[in-house]
């Protein structure tokens, strides 16, 4: 059992003044009342585990470590006296024989440094994001405008031969009309043309339609304008891309980022595709094309899904889940393959950096923790 000197202190959460040794103890769920000497006596009486905050007796209980100098923590009772140091203040291992070192100060210092650094990164990232966003949007807009005007020009250019062909066709048609109405100089084949046509047409006089374009003309129309149409669709798709709540991911669009492992080079072109290339050379493998944002429920732009990559032998097609976190630079930090052909990539971007609320909050906590010492 618990040494009596510790009975009243170990594992108790200070802000819970519920343990009064002068009275019977009532389990926090109200299910049962027990004599106070059965509290922390290394036997579980309460179904909710609240009578044993300092021992491992209850399977569903929690142990509170204050961790002065670091963050307080509630750990599962199963970790109390199991021979492994879990609380940095060593209080969870008071009776297992293992010797733990108090590492709270060190952890606190490290965390403070880390948080400070993160906050710094976040702040910088946020600044970057703010400018990037505008720059990104501006660039994107410019980019699109250029594209649109180019297309316009291209469209006009391609329409020249099309127009000419159409014109020729129209003239021929008009010539026939003219011919059929007045001139005897019409050639025999023109007459035949008309006869054949008239036979097909019920009301030749009122709305005589232009016959279909010849094949060459039609091909001109189909080919060029169709590809232009596709480009317009693509452009529209691009315009419809969800580039973040405020377009903060726009700056990534059209760029690619690489990460090298000992074996492979991974390249992500956000909102477009991810590929893997063996370092030793050889062909690229697609790990997926842009699919969608995952878990956008709470407007949380932090996971991207790329799918329909190169199919695996006897398996599915490759796909990648990209997890984004706040960082000063846009950089891929890891790429792994947890399941065959299902990749997971981690990427940092300023676009996810929030205004440094974090820094303030954690700074305060840290101050508080230190004043407790």
């Amino acid at each position: 059992g618990l040494p009596s000197t510790l009975r009243m202190t170990v594992g108790w959460q200070l802000e819970r003044p519920l343990y009064d040794e002068t009275k019977n103890f009532t389990c926090l769920d109200g299910s049962k009342s027990i004599p106070f000497d059965q509290v922390n006596d290394d036997y579980c009486d309460c179904p909710d585990g609240t009578d044993e905050p300092g021992t491992a007796a209850c399977p569903n209980g929690f142990f509170h470590c204050t961790n002065a100098g670091f963050r307080p923590q509630n750990i599962h009772s199963s970790l109390v006296n199991d021979g492994i140091c879990d609380c940095c203040d060593t209080t969870d291992e008071y009776n297992s024989g293992v010797i733990c070192e108090n590492s709270c100060k060190e952890l606190g210092r490290k965390e403070h440094e880390l948080l400070a650094k993160q906050a710094e990164v976040a702040a910088e990232g946020f600044k970057l994001k703010a400018t990037r966003k505008l720059v990104g949007l501006r660039e994107a807009k410019k980019d699109w405008e250029i594209k649109v005007s180019k297309l316009q020009t291209f469209k006009e250019e391609t329409e020249v031969p099309e127009k000419e062909a159409k014109e020729k066709h129209r003239q021929e048609w008009e010539g026939i009309l003219l011919c059929s109405l007045s001139s005897p100089s019409c050639t025999l084949h023109v007459v035949a043309f008309v006869l054949v046509f008239l036979r097909k047409t019920k009301k030749p006089e009122e709305d005589r339609e232009m016959p279909p374009y010849d094949e060459a003309t039609q091909a001109l129309i189909d080919g060029k304008t169709f590809s232009i149409k596709i480009m317009i669709v693509d452009l529209e798709k691009e315009l419809s891309l969800d580039l973040g709540r405020n377009g903060e991911f726009a700056y990534m669009y059209g760029k690619c980022f690489e990460m090298t492992t000992p074996e492979y080079i991974y390249r992500i072109c956000p909102f477009n595709k991810i590929v893997q290339k063996p370092k030793s050379g050889g062909t690229e493998t697609s790990l997926g094309s842009w699919g969608m944002w995952v878990d956008l429920g709470s407007n949380n732009y932090s996971q991207m899904k790329y799918d329909h990559g190169t199919a695996c032998w006897q398996g599915p097609s490759r796909s990648t889940l990209v997890k984004l976190t706040c960082g000063r630079e846009t950089v891929v930090t890891s790429t792994v393959e947890p399941s065959r052909c299902e990749y997971a990539m981690e990427m940092q971007t300023p676009a996810l950096c929030q205004e440094s609320r974090l820094q303030k909050q954690h700074g305060d906590e840290w101050q508080q923790a230190h004043s407790e010492l």
Binding site: Y43, A56, S78
Partner: protein
């Protein structure tokens, strides 16, 4: 020829004469201690010695001298211990074994003795005769494998109809019976397949010609036979008259089919027959390709008409006929005469040994996957179990952790600091396992291969060069584990300074040791490949995995100076592999049918000595549904080896992947396993000590109850827990048979009481694992969940006492340091006995084994008694030298259950608790 009789302490020997070929065989009949008889048939004179699998036996079986009761030219009656009589008849040759005045087994009653004597290739008259006989093996094989697509097109001597099989039987050499020589046979041409054989594109040179052996055993009075694993088939064996016989030939089978007698990864040529009157074991010690034909009431009835007078109406009752055929080697058969199941387990253990006592962690939960990709992945999985408050003991690394499938190495990109990684895992009091397969990458820069190559430690091809096959590393050579020197050298490879990056928490997994050869015949070594001592691979095939596991165990022993218990899992096995560790059912499928099949397969392995066995949780191939995965965890928690494993092409399936509900269900299953570890450990101790299986078919505990003989969807763990796993999708309930007309059973979750001898409908939810405690038993548990079994070592116990209809119960608890050999070397163990009778619970040292001297401070936290219906006034703890102390308690009349609060006594002390 009964006049050749010689009798000694070791054996009674006789000569047998094949009347057609005039070949002399030597028959030895040995009386073995503990109601066992051994029959050996060898060649009196031979051109080439035949392989004898003596390494399978734990020692030379202890023989005693049989005495002659009666001897004529036609008949010999031998007398042994335990009312054993053995009658040998000369014409026709047969042996009848009588125990307690009853005929229990007849040998060669169907005249199927087969012994293809050694010969040289030639064309003399006698050779022709024998070669006709000799082609039987090929012929039978063709019959046996006909209809299988893989062989149909290639086998040359096809007999496709069932009549073909009959014909083959008729043509067996019938020693001593057939006086007339068949002229047609005399002149028949030598059949194809006698001296060489082709299978698909493979060729078997068969330089020694036909060498097969076979014998039939008739078992009057039996209708139910079990054993001869490994087959993905029912636990109770089927008769094979309408299909293929059961085949034993260790093979790496891709996505094996269920309800099929085809060969799988391991072989135990041991069959157990059971009837309400008697249990009997039949051990056919031959490690070559073996086929077993099982028939029921088909032969021998007319022969029985002529039986000895005192045989009680043997021609009336049921009978099973078991016929064994092996490709080479000798006839070496053991008849284990029981008569009780417990006797047969002890008798088999005396021959093939018992289960090695595993270190406790090996009985806990194992997390495996092909593959955990790198060190970060391993640490993340480890952290995941902690984060989700799930207990776990061992993380496994499959082949991808190596440098290009060179075992004993690490991929330096993915595992740059393997020792640091293991130290981190050790810090959680967990362990790791790496895979070490028997093939070696042919690569002159790979030191293990190089050394094996230059020392001549590799299996040779028929031409004498090193055998080269194709396996995971590409071109691969195969270590010749048959050679003791190779095993010794192999063991040295596990030393910490040889296996760099290994630490003392790293254990081993021997996969692919059938051995698997991707481009070999039936995905294994060629039969004419050569081993140490000049043996052909065909002579030793089924022992290859056995020998590798032996060498690996040697390595783990050596690295700890023989102090720490090894843990080695193997896929291929043979009789006796239990002495080296654990086995599993190989590459199963993530389907409901395979979950169900795991029960009958593991039951069969347990029956045949391999208690430490299990199936991949979730199924190796395919992605199981969440429901199937949960059900598999629930079933696996109640099978001896509890390991989750998955193919590289499957999606991740760590328990927390599927959301918090599923995580909670898996957590419950894992916690049940961990809470029961003291009970599992105690049951395993008895497997080690006496050969009793850990997982038992109901009939083992209820041998007289015929309703149990067919049951294979439920079973017992030890003698106290009955488990009926749910193995169907969307199940709302299962029919549970609760055996024993005078037994009572308690639902372990609700404590509800049921009487035995009935089938009940038991409703289930997804969270339900139907488990019942047998009235009259006491189960020790540790009810505090921890992250690993090592973290539980100082935790207190709870005793669960389930009273029988006499209001009594009894149980045991085995304790030691849970990892070392001090229990064997220093007697540092405790076997505690608990007896509840007349309202008093008495704890004392067990009288079943000599007292040990393990000391421990582990204490008793709680006692739960169910089935206690009396009104009570007090619960009093009595200890020698202390004042009686009243204990607090809580009684629930609706459930007749009493919880005694915190007795606080040590488990190793003597004490009584009196309830009034």
């Amino acid at each position: 020829m009964l006049d050749t009789l010689e009798i000694s302490q070791a054996a009674t020997s006789l000569n047998l004469l094949h009347e057609k070929t005039q070949v002399l065989l030597k028959l030895e009949i040995c009386g073995l201690e503990d109601n066992t008889v051994r029959f050996r048939i060898t060649e009196l004179e031979t051109r080439r010695p035949r392989f004898e699998a003596s390494d399978v036996l734990v020692g030379s079986p202890r023989t005693y001298r049989l005495s002659v009761e009666k001897q004529t030219t036609e008949e010999l009656m031998l007398l042994g211990r335990d009312s054993l009589r053995i009658s040998v008849s000369a014409h026709p040759f047969r042996i009848d074994v009588l125990s307690g005045g009853e005929l229990v087994t007849s040998v060669n009653a169907r005249g199927l003795l087969l012994f293809e004597h050694s010969r040289t290739r030639g064309n003399t008259l006698t050779e022709r005769v024998s070669s006709t006989v000799g082609s039987m093996w090929t012929k039978l094989k063709a019959v046996f494998t006909s209809g299988k697509e893989e062989t149909a097109s290639e086998e040359k001597t096809q007999d496709e109809s069932p009549e073909g099989e009959e014909k083959a039987h008729e043509e067996e050499p019938d020693l001593g019976t057939d006086e007339k020589e068949n002229q047609e046979e005399m002149t028949e041409e030598e059949e194809e397949g006698t001296w060489e054989e082709s299978f698909k594109s493979h060729h078997d040179s068969k330089p020694y010609g036909p060498m097969s052996v076979g014998l039939d055993f008739s078992l009057p009075g039996f209708e139910d036979v079990y054993g001869i694993p490994e087959h993905a088939d029912s636990f109770r064996l089927r008769t094979t008259s309408s299909g293929d016989p059961y085949r034993l030939y260790n093979l790496d089978v891709f996505q094996y089919e269920l309800e099929n007698p085809m060969a799988l990864y391991g072989s135990v040529p041991y069959l157990v027959a059971h009837s309400p009157e008697r249990t009997l074991g039949l051990f056919w010690l031959n490690p070559t390709e073996t086929w077993i034909d099982i028939a029921s009431n088909t032969a021998g009835k007319t022969v029985f008409g002529k039986m000895l007078d005192f045989v009680r109406s043997a021609n009336e009752g049921p009978q099973m006929d078991v016929r064994w055929m092996s490709e080479s080697g000798i006839v070496d058969a053991f008849l284990l005469l029981g008569p009780l199941p417990t006797d047969v387990f002890r008798q088999y253990a005396a021959l093939a040994g018992t289960q090695a006592l595993p270190p406790l962690f090996a009985l806990a939960y194992h997390q495996s996957r092909w593959n955990y990709n790198d060190e970060d992945d391993v640490l993340a999985v480890d952290a995941g179990f902690d984060k989700h408050n799930l207990p776990m003991d061992v993380i496994w690394l499959d082949i991808e952790h190596t440098d290009g499938k060179r075992y004993f190495t690490w991929d330096s990109n993915k595992f740059p600091n393997p020792a640091d990684m293991q130290n981190h895992i050790a810090g959680k009091r967990r362990k790791m396992v790496t895979i070490v397969d028997p093939h070696l990458k042919v690569d002159s820069s790979y030191s293990v291969y190089n050394e094996a190559y230059s020392r001549g430690y590799l299996v040779k091809n028929k031409g004498g060069g090193d055998y080269e096959g194709w396996c995971w590393p590409g071109s691969a050579a195969y270590l010749d584990f048959l050679n003791p020197e190779v095993r010794d050298w192999y063991a040295s490879k596990f030393a910490y300074d040889s296996y760099l990056g290994s630490t003392d928490i790293l254990f081993t997994w021997n996969d692919m040791n059938e051995p698997s050869v991707f481009n070999g015949p039936e995905v294994t070594l060629h039969k004419d490949a050569l081993h140490h001592g000049g043996w052909e691979h065909r002579d030793v095939h089924n022992l290859y995995g056995f020998y590798q596991q032996w060498g690996t165990v040697g390595g783990q022993l050596r690295r700890s100076g023989g102090n720490e218990r090894p843990f080695v899992l193997a896929r291929a096995f043979f009789a006796g592999s239990q002495r080296f560790g654990a086995v599993w059912t190989g590459d199963n499928l993530g389907e409901w049918s395979h979950l169900k099949a795991s029960i009958s397969m593991v039951l069969s392995l347990n029956l045949c000595g391999l208690s430490f066995s299990g199936a991949d949780i979730g199924g190796f191939f395919k992605n199981p549904s969440t429901e199937l995965l949960v059900r598999w965890y629930q079933a696996g928690a109640y099978q001896p080896l509890f390991r989750a494993h998955a193919h590289i092409d499957t999606a991740r399936r760590e328990p927390w992947i599927f959301g918090s509900d599923t995580t909670a269900l898996v957590r419950t299953a894992l916690r049940e396993r961990y809470a029961l570890l003291p009970y599992w450990y105690t049951v395993f101790y008895w497997a080690y000590r006496s050969g009793m299986p850990v997982m038992r078919a109901l009939w083992i505990e209820f041998p007289k109850e015929e309703q149990t003989f067919m049951i294979e969807d439920e079973y017992m763990i030890g003698n106290a827990l009955l488990v009926h796993p749910v193995t169907e999708a969307a199940s709302r309930g299962v029919n549970v048979y609760l055996p024993g007309a005078h037994e009572v059973w308690y639902d372990v979750h609700t404590q509800k009481k049921y009487s035995g001898g009935q089938e009940i409908y038991y409703p289930v939810k997804l969270s339900t694992i139907p488990v019942f405690q047998r009235g009259g038993t006491i189960i020790p548990r540790k009810d505090r969940p921890r992250r690993s079994s090592a973290c539980m070592s100082a935790d207190p116990y709870t005793l669960y006492i389930a009273l029988d209809d006499q209001k009594s119960a009894e149980g045991e608890l085995y304790m030691d340091d849970e990892h070392s050999f001090n229990f064997e070397k220093q007697n540092e163990y405790q076997l505690r006995h608990f007896l509840f009778k007349g309202g008093t619970l008495k704890a004392s040292v067990s009288s079943h084994i000599p007292p040990g001297k393990y000391s421990s401070t582990e204490w008793l936290e709680r006692i739960v008694i169910v089935g206690i219906a009396q009104p009570m006034m007090s619960v009093l703890l009595k200890q020698p030298g202390s004042q009686d102390a009243p204990l607090a308690y809580e009684y629930t009349p609706e459930l007749s259950s009493l919880i005694v609060r915190r007795p606080g006594v040590r488990l190793t002390a003597e004490w009584t608790i009196v309830i009034r």
